[in-house]
């Protein structure tokens, strides 16, 4: 019986002949099969994954050099394009659509020997915090099937949580990787905006979206990031900043960067009325532990907290309303069977039938804030908030090495419990949207267990492109919390 601990151990087991990719894939296929009720996967590429595993085994046995992710079993949130495979964004509007090209991240995974095992359920077009907005049904949290896994990358989080794959790629526009990682008790990394090419990631909000990584360990996340990160001719917002060998520098004592010592936290965030008392207590306790460990832990004055969620939702819905215009039933995807009187009618039918409720809500919100007469009051103001936040962020990182906060104010909630209150659902993004508004990297680390039995964690954020510092401090925090 295969038991996964880390990619490093797995690869040495392969090299020692203790296991094979083929056996491992069949292990994962059976775990997926026995966890069907969690609804984490929309489609499993069983035969294909097995064939690729056999090929990789053969290559290894023939002495071919191994890719960095040789035999690593990966799942893709179904917003990431994989050539020749269906791509649905968990939406009916993409019914029957097959991608004709690979996302850059997928190309890079495959180049390094990864095995893609399936596409994973998520909130429709990555819009949601509970995975209850999928056209293909809810995803259940493996720790408690009555509870949500978080969202929007719910399926991807649960797949790693329940051992259905080693790594998942998700997308994080306002916390869609970190929040479900928090709810599911795993590591969830959102890199700096532009660290990973967005080419092939279905856009929700272009200036916020970033492909993120779910893993069981920081080391696995680091290795995966190293593979998928870097500049890309197909994405002009992808950064040319060189990619650091995160995996080898993660625990290296040769790392010549200063060890992060100054940790800041937003005082106002901890005074937030929606913050769960048990989370608050654990978090405050952790701050004390850090101080005891020699860290300088200080509050950061942050008066803009109440602006960040509104600014986030104005800007993301604005971009979304435009990004989702291409789903019109003309070139691909759902086309209504209802006869149309005219062109406007045709669009209305296709889009009304194809999109779900939350997506429509956000398209309408976004269309509204971009409309003549409202643009300045909403979009421009929100853009100003974003600019101020960006300035404050560089000020903060001139004083601190990292910012720490709870990832989410509450642990995973019960399915259906938030359905009637979209605003409350939006407000729960309070800790995660900051990183997307200013483009910095953030990670959710599974440190705690709630009295109700659910896992939860902390979020750590560092400055732009300092993923290495972020990953290194994450390793230390995990060690500290284990003590």
């Amino acid at each position: 019986m295969f038991s996964f601990s880390s990619i490093e151990d797995y690869v040495s087991a392969l090299q020692n002949g203790e296991t094979t990719c083929e056996d491992v894939v069949s292990h994962y296929l059976s775990v997926i099969d026995s966890n069907k009720h969690l609804n984490a996967f929309l489609e499993v590429f069983a035969d294909e994954a097995a064939a690729r595993a056999r090929q990789l085994d053969q290559d290894r046995n023939n002495g071919k050099p191994l890719g960095k992710l040789h035999g690593v079993v990966v799942g893709l949130k179904d917003v990431i394009a994989y050539k020749g495979h269906k791509l649905s964004a968990s939406s009916k509007i993409l019914e029957g659509f097959t991608s004709i090209y690979n996302a850059t991240a997928v190309d890079r995974l495959l180049q390094e020997g990864a095995i893609i095992i399936g596409r994973q359920n998520c909130d429709e077009f990555a819009m949601g915090s509970s995975n209850e907005n999928s056209a293909y049904g809810n995803v259940l949290n493996a720790a408690d099937n009555k509870r949500v896994p978080g969202g929007s990358s719910g399926g991807s989080a649960v797949a790693v949580q329940a051992g259905m794959c080693m790594i998942s790629l998700g997308s994080d526009t306002g916390g869609s990787v970190r929040q479900p990682a928090d709810f599911c008790g795993i590591v969830g990394l959102k890199p700096t905006y532009g660290r990973v090419s967005r080419y092939g990631l279905i856009a929700y909000a272009s200036s916020f979206d970033q492909i993120g990584i779910f893993a069981k360990s920081v080391a696995d996340a680091a290795l995966t990031l190293e593979v998928i990160a870097g500049e890309d001719d197909f994405d002009s917002t992808a950064s040319k900043e060189p990619v650091v060998p995160y995996s080898s520098l993660l625990n290296s004592s040769n790392y010549n960067g200063a060890a992060p010592k100054k940790i800041g936290y937003f005082k106002e965030a901890l005074e937030h009325p929606g913050l769960d008392p048990a989370i608050s207590q654990s978090f405050n306790q952790f701050l004390k532990t850090l101080t005891a460990q020699g860290y300088i832990v200080e509050p950061i004055d942050f008066e803009l907290l109440e602006y960040i969620v509104p600014a986030y939702y104005i800007l993301t819905t604005a971009e979304a309303s435009s990004n989702l215009s291409r789903f019109d039933g003309v070139k691909y995807g759902h086309r209504s069977a209802v006869p149309s009187e005219d062109l406007a009618d045709f669009y209305k039918h296709n889009r009304s039938e194809g999109f779900g409720k939350e997506v429509k809500r956000r398209i309408m919100l976004g269309t509204f804030v971009l409309s003549a007469g409202y643009f300045d009051a909403y979009f421009t103001k929100a853009q100003q908030v974003r600019n101020i936040l960006l300035k404050q962020t560089s000020a903060i990182f001139s004083r601190f090495d990292a910012i720490i906060s709870p990832t989410v104010p509450t642990p995973a909630f019960e399915l259906g419990s938030m359905n009637n209150d979209p605003i409350e659902m939006f407000l729960a993004d309070i800790y995660t949207v900051f990183a997307n508004l200013v483009g910095i990297p953030g990670i959710s680390l599974p440190l705690f267990t709630h009295p109700n039995g659910m896992p939860f964690g902390v979020q750590v954020m560092t400055s732009h492109f300092s993923e290495l510092a972020l990953l290194r401090i994450s390793e230390v925090f995990l060690q500290i919390s284990e003590k």
Partner: protein, 482 residues
């Protein structure tokens, strides 16, 4: 219709020019015209989920090139915006455009009309992507869409409402088309739609400062149609006002079959395009070096050459303007005058027999096979009296076109075209002619001096064109007066 004199027209033109880039504005797809429908369509052009744009640097260079040529201010900090609207030929549901923040601001295009030279003021030149083509007439039940054109790089060149007649508009578009071709920015082909023009026309009483209600006329696919449509519109609007009516703001289309316009949409549709900065493309800053490199690589502009030819080379305005019709002609002329200072002769040759030849053979001037140096040598032969112009253009030039490997002097010699200036030899021919035509000689001597032309012609015949006409004339006059 004298009441027309009370009115003046105010016209602004919007010209869309497809840039001559190999690939589209935001993808690597080919821009070649005339391909099978939907063959130049990558997932990016088709707006497939997850695709992103990447700006074609060459398009930016071409936009700057036309901007510099029009004396525009080049904006250093640039970004694209999205213009959101739904239409089947718009794959992404938005057009990526610089509509709100053009790369080139202000500037002018110089035109020459019967009433003189003047600068037509530009408002801006901005970049944007073209849409696909909706085809409504090949399937009874469906509209077909060809996305080959979708994403092709365009510049939109927008004038101020600075034109006052159809004739000015005609000259402006002519000049602009010449300029974009000159610079290699656009092929200027209006029929294939690589250059498209919309006209905003309004009329008002002379002396009025407020603009009248404007009408936008679309579908002007030739320069002639630009003129005809504006003429029709001005006339129509004045008549409406004279009959007590008011002009409604409309979009109209031109019907080339009868040179009239008809309304497509009454007043602007209440379209809210919800412009916002394109988040998929980071803003870009143009460096001075980048702009200067473009400037340095630009060919001399027609206006500069016109001035050079007219003022420095002493050519007439007409000759200079004729030479400056196309860049290829000036290129050729400029090469020829490296080998001769007889500018007038060079101009006459190029505007004369050379142009006639290329027109007849429907080739461009840069495909004209006689090398500039050879033409200069031909001109030299004429200057030296070794051959005359008419023989040179009718015999030597075709010979050079047929065999460019030989020097003109060699060819002329081989073909026995070198004219004889030696008086002895010419005297024989002159004597021969005088002996042959005693009656004419008698008439001449009685005072019918006009007959000299006849004698010269006869000598020319006798010499098979080789006798130098100047020497012939002098000798004839001597002999006949004796």
């Amino acid at each position: 219709m004298s009441y027309h004199d009370k009115y003046e027209a105010v016209i602004g033109l919007e010209v869309h020019a497809q840039l001559m880039t190999q690939s589209k504005l935001f993808s690597g797809d080919s821009t070649a015209f005339g391909a099978e429908p939907n063959t130049h369509v990558s997932p990016i052009t088709l707006g497939h989920p997850g695709t992103l744009p990447k700006t074609n640097k060459e398009a930016v260079e071409l936009a700057i090139r036309i901007g510099l040529a029009c004396n525009c201010h080049i904006e250093r900090y640039n970004y694209f915006a999205r213009k959101n609207y739904f239409y089947p030929d718009l794959p992404k549901g938005y057009q990526v455009s610089q509509h709100t923040t053009p790369i080139c601001k202000g500037g002018h295009v110089t035109i020459r009309t019967a009433s003189g030279v003047r600068n037509v003021q530009l408002n801006r030149i901005h970049m944007e992507e073209d849409a696909g083509k909706s085809i409504h007439d090949i399937d009874d039940n469906n509209t077909c869409v060809d996305y080959n054109r979708a994403g092709v790089a365009l510049v939109e060149i927008v004038t101020e409402p600075d034109l006052s007649s159809a004739d000015e508009a005609y000259h402006y578009v002519t000049e602009l088309r010449k300029l974009v071709r000159w610079l290699g920015v656009c092929d200027g082909n209006m029929e294939e739609g690589s250059l498209r023009c919309d006209a905003n026309v309004s009329v008002r009483l002379k002396g009025e400062t407020k603009l009248g209600t404007k009408v936008e006329v679309k579908n002007l696919n030739s320069i002639r149609n630009v003129k005809k449509a504006i003429e029709f519109e001005i006339d129509r609007m004045i008549n409406v006002i004279e009959q007590g009516g008011t002009i409604t703001q409309q979009t109209r289309s031109f019907d080339a079959s009868n040179d009239t316009t008809f309304a497509i949409r009454d007043k602007e549709e209440a379209n809210d395009y919800r412009y916002f900065p394109e988040p998929d493309l980071p803003p870009f800053r143009l460096t001075e070096t980048f702009i200067n490199d473009i400037k340095d690589a630009m060919p001399a502009l027609p206006e500069e050459l016109y001035t050079l030819y007219h003022q420095q080379y002493g050519l007439s305005e007409y000759d200079a303007a004729q030479l400056c019709l196309e860049k290829e002609t000036t290129d050729y002329f400029n090469e020829v005058v490296k080998f001769t200072t007889n500018y007038k002769a060079a101009s006459n040759w190029i505007n004369g027999p050379v142009r006639q030849y290329v027109n007849e053979h429907k080739i461009a001037m840069d495909s004209f096979a006689v090398k500039p140096q050879q033409l200069a040598e031909v001109m030299q032969l004429i200057d030296e009296g070794k051959i005359n112009f008419s023989v040179a253009s009718s015999k030597l030039l075709p010979a050079l076109l047929a065999d460019g490997s030989k020097a003109p002097i060699q060819l002329a010699t081989e073909l026995n075209l070198i004219q004889v200036s030696d008086s002895n030899e010419i005297e024989n021919w002159v004597a021969e002619v005088i002996a042959k035509m005693p009656e004419k000689v008698a008439e001449y001597k009685k005072g019918k001096k006009g007959l000299i032309g006849l004698f010269v012609g006869e000598v020319k015949k006798a010499s098979k064109g080789k006798a130098d006409p100047k020497v012939v004339t002098t000798l004839l006059e001597q002999k006949l007066s004796g």
